[in-house]
């Protein structure tokens, strides 16, 4: 942009009316150059980050299995009224497409999908397929019904119909312990099957608890660091920054070593005679709190410290000299000035805590696992990708909403100490 301006110097002196246009052109060129510099990263992130995540989120409503493997049956079934058994056309197309599904892994895909409707559906499909003739002398509807009585039940075909449309809300509803009843209305699932509401509540409770403890521990320390002379606070800052830079797994391992039944904490307490037998401190909620607070505490201290560092002590002194009790001066004058730091640290720690996976997986028990754990579990262990995506969607929405609040409150620069 500068070179464009420099070259246009003679033109400006000759022809003043063109100046505005030339400035605009230079300005436009500058913008284009700026965009060109940002573009590589934006495109890179679009391809390697936004597309993968959008793809995954799509799976929370994706229902294309039956439609892809049995397109004709699916099309006809969506038109079926669901009262009597479907027509012969449906039976015959179904028999044909079921036979074709043997190649290319189609059978496995629809089997997995239909099992979510009825856990015995896959078996029904394979049993039917094993004896399905290539041609029929009677009608396909009679042939199928003679192979298995369940083909004469409307419920079987209704399950197939429910799996036929291209999209579904069943995973998103299931992630909230809801389902569609037989009448199509949303209802809560049976009480003994409700899992995820508890998981979400647990995630919020753990994240909230960790955030609160971090605030209670971090605030006094940040205050001390901000009020000490720089030479002393720099040394103490190492105590905060060294754990911050230390690998998360190293610290998690250290907490297992410390808290296990033969670990340092238990041996110390027993030597002191405070307890008789070792306490269970790890692989339960206590271990999760210890490890998570330890990992997230620096993220609370650093924003608090940077805000406190900028607070002038004169207001507090003024209040005291006017007769306020030192505690009143602290609480009414100093603390309100730190609120932006408190908000930043709190939201930052909370955002990071609700997404935690590794630490609870290593130091928690089965009843301490958070939403992330279930996202990973459904992806890796049961291949129920719709469920993984649905839980992930809610986790992502919660995170992004919190981040919006955070963004309104603080500048991004404060996210890390520079």
């Amino acid at each position: 942009m500068t070179s464009a301006l420099a070259m246009s110097q003679p033109a400006i002196s000759e022809k003043v009316p063109g100046l505005k246009a030339q400035l605009r052109r230079a300005e436009r060129l500058r913008k284009l150059k700026a965009i060109a510099l940002v573009a590589p990263l934006a495109i890179f992130l679009m391809i390697a980050f936004v597309i993968p995540i959008s793809n995954m989120l799509w799976r929370s409503v994706d229902n294309s299995e039956v439609m892809q493997v049995m397109p004709e049956t699916a099309r006809l079934l969506t038109e079926w009224d669901g009262k009597d058994l479907p027509s012969e056309a449906v039976f015959s197309l179904f028999a044909q497409e079921l036979r074709d599904s043997r190649t290319g892994g189609g059978l496995g895909r629809i089997g997995r999908r239909l099992n979510y409707e009825d856990p015995t559906f896959r078996t029904l499909l394979t049993q039917t397929l094993r004896v399905l003739p290539a041609t029929t002398e009677t009608t396909w509807s009679e042939t199928l019904q003679s192979i298995h009585p369940r083909w004469s039940e409307t419920e079987t075909w209704l399950a197939l119909q429910r799996a036929a449309p291209a999209t579904t809300d069943r995973y998103l509803l299931a992630a909230l312990d809801l389902k569609r009843g037989s009448d199509g209305n949303i209802e809560r699932i049976e009480e003994n099957q409700r899992v995820y509401q508890q998981v979400f509540v647990r995630t919020l409770v753990i994240a909230g608890g960790v955030t609160l403890i971090c605030l209670l521990m971090g605030f006094p320390l940040a205050y001390l660091l901000a009020t000490l002379p720089t030479s002393q606070s720099n040394i103490l800052m190492i105590f905060v920054l060294l754990p911050f830079w230390t690998s998360l797994l190293v610290r998690t391992a250290a907490w297992i070593v410390l808290l296990q039944s033969g670990g340092l904490v238990n041996t110390t307490l027993m030597t002191l005679g405070l307890i008789e037998s070792p306490l269970q401190l790890v692989f339960n909620r206590i271990g999760v709190f210890f490890a998570m607070v330890h990992i997230l505490l620096p993220f609370m201290i650093l924003p608090l410290y940077s805000v406190m560092k900028g607070i002038s002590p004169v207001y507090q002194r003024a209040a005291t000299s006017l007769g306020a009790h030192p505690f009143a001066a602290f609480w009414q004058i100093y603390v309100p000035q730190t609120l932006s730091g408190v908000a930043a640290g709190t939201i930052l720690v909370f955002i990071m805590a609700i997404g935690y996976y590794i630490t609870p997986a290593l130091v928690g028990g089965p009843s301490d696992q958070m939403v992330s754990y279930f996202v990973a579990y459904y992806t890796n262990t049961t291949n129920n990708w719709g469920m993984a995506a649905a839980l992930g969607t809610f986790l992502l929405i919660a995170t992004l909403l919190l981040y919006l609040v955070y963004h309104k409150l603080v500048n991004q620069k404060q996210l890390i100490r520079n």
């Binding site: 942009m1 500068t2 070179s3 300005e27 500058r30 913008k31 700026a34 510099l37 590589p40 990263l41 934006a42 890179f44 992130l45 390697a48 993968p52 793809n55 995954m56 521990m217 006094p220 320390l221 001390l224 009020t227 905060v240 060294l242 754990p243 830079w245 230390t246 690998s247 998360l248 797994l249 190293v250 610290r251 998690t252 391992a253 250290a254 907490w255 297992i256 070593v257 296990q260 033969g262 340092l264 041996t267 330890h294 505490l297 609700i354 997404g355 996976y357 590794i358 290593l362 992330s372 990973a376 992930g392 986790l395 992502l396 995170t399 992004l400 991004q412 620069k413 890390i416 520079n418």
Partner: protein
Amino acid sequence: MSLQPYSSPIERIWYWTFRGFCALVLLFLMIPVLVIIPLSFSSGSFLTYPLPGFSLHWYKTIFSAGPWLDSLKNSLIVAPLATLLAMAFGTLAAVGLNKADFPGKSFILALLISPMIVPLVIVAVGMYFFFAQIGLLNSYAGLVLAHAVLGVPFVVITVNATLQGFDYNQVRAGASLGAHPLRVFFTIVLPQIIPGVASGGLFAFATSFDEVVVALFIASPTERTLPMQMFSGIRENISPAIAAMATIMIILSVLLLLVMEMLRRRSEKMRINR
């Protein structure tokens, strides 16, 4: 809060309670790091105190051929490449963001920062599906790309912060003296923003060197990184080999911390000199 000769006894009690509490918090922060180092010199095969005896056996284990050394090698391949990629993309973007205002800038900035915000497990599952489709699953290239994505926000933020104090008249001066924009960038801009680029790079390196969630999803045992090895070590057979590797990694963190501090001092000095 400071103690004066005329402070009342209650103030004195508060002062020492406060100091004591802060000391406990600092102890809490440091103790895991301090506890794990002596265990790496244990001659026993369990991570417990008291130590049965002194031995360098576990260091020999991690540095002789085997899964530990392989995973260290893999991390030392992946992390620098991911860091370089993040530094190149991130620096360019930060320079662009500071060059001019353009429509959608705040949206773009939010996009560039987002890998830092989105829960890792969501990134991991998304990349797992996507990389499976495009054939990058279980490959070094996939791992490098994934870690570059995770590291790039740090570079954007630190370079952006450094550029806030940069005087653009220097660019104009360079250009008016006839220098090519690339030459201006490499001889005028880059030397001044290098502390920001380097500290962003360190963050990116540390991210890749410590990242386990995404790696667990998209890498096979062949590309097993150091954090993956630590993870399975903690999960399956927790032995002093973990403590030995942890000690090595703590030493690395100390080095990172020192370099970071050096960079901070340098960029502060530059600001004062101007």
